[in-house]
């Protein structure tokens, strides 16, 4: 008996349970308990992997190693804290008449469905199942984006569905090509298992794998939100309910990047060149710079932060593309830091929007005077995501810069300029939002800022000193991906 079964079983049972209970007032609490249980199970799984090393479950259909187990823990943790935020928030939305009980039921059911899809993406060893789960995540979230049924949200959901659906179809083509390449060396039905492919990577035909990687990168890259395939992302984030934005930004993007990195490991083993890395660097850098510029022309607070997500995902893709141990370590750490910080920010933004009754940046003013907790939360979160020391994002960005200096010194100025532009873009809007004159009739609301505090304290802690357990963990994951240790 391994902890993998409860990790996957809890959301699987949670779906029908919440489909039954979803519309009652306590459903949010049930969702919290389910996610809490999932988090504990994932910790158990992490300890198992920590003690025994990589393991395969169910005839090799699932495979857990240092790389994915840490993302499993991160996924369930962000899932839990977002659920804690979501329970009172969604109830509040229902009271304001923006939601009907049936839509609340749909929301809670699909929350669990999304968690299940994400966890399957991370733990499966089968590239085909990975694709199926990734598409499943789209299907679970698409109706949530249009939960409010405003014309804007329907439009956003349609775009999300079509763009991600077509995008991810490319990834399936890439997966078929992988399987085709495996068929050439006679692996039979096992040719879709990642571990088998990885073991035989050197024998796989490099031409086919290079072609496959292009399709895989475009496909999963659509989900990461890489420019120019990013159009769905700001729309889906800004129009859906806020807890959705938090888990989309904190989890879905990471898991799509995880899929790309797994594919890159296969392709690198086969081609022996840096082709996959260069592609990822190019796409990553482009996304990073374009998103940083787009930060300057936003009018919606959630759109603003979703562009910041694209920017950070671009940086991570770039860092994984660089590929050395240091860059990989930095990218892994940046993944964690960005998830924690960005979901904390979206939680705060959700409260801010409820307080100001609008998402328009020009109309949200004086948060720090009306409700200091929300104001400070937003300010500190923005400082953290913009890469201020002493927060963890600074550390990971610094490591990315160091790695770039070592390998491609001439790219460092581009990264620095991008960070500067993004910083200016965020603060030109957030400064008046936090400090501006309070509009009349703005009152504090009941807000639960525990998740924000916990996330930001973790980010601060990891900026000051990475705990030994965690650095060891990142180190093991880096060894899995890059082959050697940065420490």
């Amino acid at each position: 008996m391994t902890a993998l079964y409860p990790v996957l079983g809890i959301p699987l049972l949670g779906m029908p349970l919440l489909a039954l209970l979803g519309s009652i007032d306590k459903a949010g609490k049930v969702n919290v308990y389910l996610n809490g249980a999932g988090f504990l199970a994932s910790l158990w799984l992490a300890i198992e992997v920590f003690n025994n090393g990589p393991m395969t479950v169910a005839a090799g259909e699932f495979r857990i190693d240092a790389f994915n187990v840490y993302l499993v823990v991160l996924t369930t943790f962000v899932g839990l804290t977002t659920a804690i935020f979501s329970a009172p928030y969604m109830l509040n939305e229902t009271r304001h008449g923006r939601l009907t009980p049936n839509r609340l039921r749909l929301y809670h059911t699909m929350y669990q469905g999304f968690m299940l899809a994400m966890l399957v993406v991370l733990t499966t060893n089968n590239m085909g199942v990975l694709w199926v789960a990734m598409e499943g995540a789209t299907l679970a979230t698409v109706l949530l984006v249009s939960l409010y049924r405003t014309p804007e949200s329907v439009e956003a959901a349609w775009k999300y569905f079509i763009l991600c659906g077509v995008g991810i179809a490319q990834a399936l083509f890439g997966t078929v090509l992988l399987y085709f390449a495996a068929g050439q060396i006679g692996t039979g039905g096992l040719g879709m298992q990642w571990s088998v492919l990885f073991e035989h990577a050197a024998e796989l035909n490099p031409t086919v794998l290079s072609l496959a990687f292009v399709f895989l990168l475009v496909g999963y890259g659509t989900k990461i939100g890489l420019v120019p395939l990013h159009n769905w992302l700001p729309d889906a984030h800004s129009e859906g309910p806020t807890p959705m934005s938090a888990i989309l930004s904190g989890l879905l993007l990471n898991d799509a990047l995880y899929a790309v990195v797994r594919c890159k490991m296969l392709v690198d083993g086969s081609t022996g060149t840096h082709m996959a890395g260069y592609l990822m660097m190019g796409f990553g850098l482009l996304s990073f710079l374009v998103a940083a510029l787009f930060l300057h022309r936003q009018r919606d607070i959630k759109r603003l932060f979703s562009y910041s997500s694209i920017e950070h995902m671009g940086m991570m893709t770039f860092a994984f593309g660089l590929g050395g141990p240091l860059a990989t370590f930095a990218a892994l750490m940046h993944m964690t830091m960005h998830s924690l910080t960005k979901s904390a920010i979206f939680v705060t933004v959700g409260h801010a929007a409820q307080l100001a009754k609008t998402q328009q940046l020009e109309k949200i003013r004086g948060l720090i005077k009306t409700q200091p907790a929300i104001g400070w939360g937003l300010l500190i979160g923005t400082a953290a995501i913009a890469g201020f020391p002493p927060f963890g994002v600074f550390t990971s960005e610094f490591l990315v810069l160091t790695a770039t200096m070592q390998q491609f010194p001439w790219l460092t100025p581009l990264l620095l300029i991008g960070i500067g532009i993004a910083f200016a873009g965020l603060f030109r809007y957030i400064q008046p939002v936090v400090y501006g004159a309070v509009p009349e009739g703005q009152h504090p609301i009941s807000a639960n800022l525990w998740p924000v505090a916990v996330h930001l304290i973790l980010v601060l802690w990891m900026g000051l000193s990475i705990p030994g357990v965690l650095s060891n963990w990142f180190d093991q994951a880096t060894q899995t991906i890059a082959g050697s240790s940065p420490l």
Binding site: G136, A169, V176, Q184, T207, V208
Partner: protein, 226 residues
């Protein structure tokens, strides 16, 4: 591989069906009526099921028969039937859509087919004629599906384009790799089915919000100030 026993006949049959599949994709680009568009899509689904069954027969592979059955039911009948029902319900079965730049679209489509063959060229040394063609054809079907989505404005046409992309991928899986593992195929079929249902739900939402299914009118969200 026991494909080799009826090597040439099998290859010829696959090539023939591959040509028909691309032909249906071209037909889709040119259909002005939504109901005939859905009919062409159903034909494509039937061809796909036929390919899978053929593959299953030559290989004596029972799981491919299941896969053929799934394709037949899902792509040949269920999804086209759902789409047709919606078209009738929304009273769009008599509407004739004017296609934008039909000549350019057709030329572009021909170019895309050539491009697909060009992309697959490096795989040439690896495999049999049929496999190579199958990969090129499925890539072409994927790209033509995208072209259909770009050149149309009706939400229903977008869904048909989307589903035909899925058909192209399935064709590659069956003809080039003799079918994917069962669990993956069932998973994909499940995703396609759920996607079809969700699309159906969306038609109602879109109609409610813009009072038509012309997706060009979904233009509220953009970065440009208006």
């Amino acid at each position: 591989m026991n494909v080799l026993t009826n090597h040439s006949l099998y290859e010829q049959a696959i090539l023939f069906i591959a040509a028909l599949v691309v032909f249906t994709s071209f037909l889709m680009l040119a259909q002005k009526r939504l109901s005939s568009l859905v009919a062409v899509f159903a034909w494509q689904g039937l061809l796909l099921a036929a390919t899978t069954a053929l593959c299953a027969y030559t290989q004596q592979n029972p799981h491919l028969y299941t896969s053929a059955l799934i394709s037949l039911v899902l792509k040949g009948f269920l999804i086209p039937w759902m789409l047709l029902r919606l078209i009738v319900k929304f009273d769009m079965h008599r509407e004739v859509e004017s296609l934008l730049y039909p000549t350019y679209v057709m030329t572009a489509a021909a170019a895309l087919v050539l491009f697909s063959y060009y992309v697959v060229l490096p795989i040439e040394q690896l495999s049999a004629l049929a496999t190579r063609n199958a990969i090129a054809v499925s890539l072409a079907v994927v790209l033509l599906g995208m072209l259909a989505m770009v050149s149309r404005r009706q939400a229903v046409a977008h869904v048909v384009g989307f589903m035909s992309i899925e058909n192209g991928l399935f064709f590659a899986a069956v003809a080039a790799t003799q079918g994917m593992p069962m669990v993956v195929e069932i998973g994909i079929a499940f995703d396609v089915l759920v996607a079809a249902v969700v699309f159906g739900v969306f038609f109602f939402h879109i109609r409610e919000s813009i009072d038509s299914l012309d997706v060009d009118r979904l233009n509220r969200l953009s970065e440009v100030d208006r």
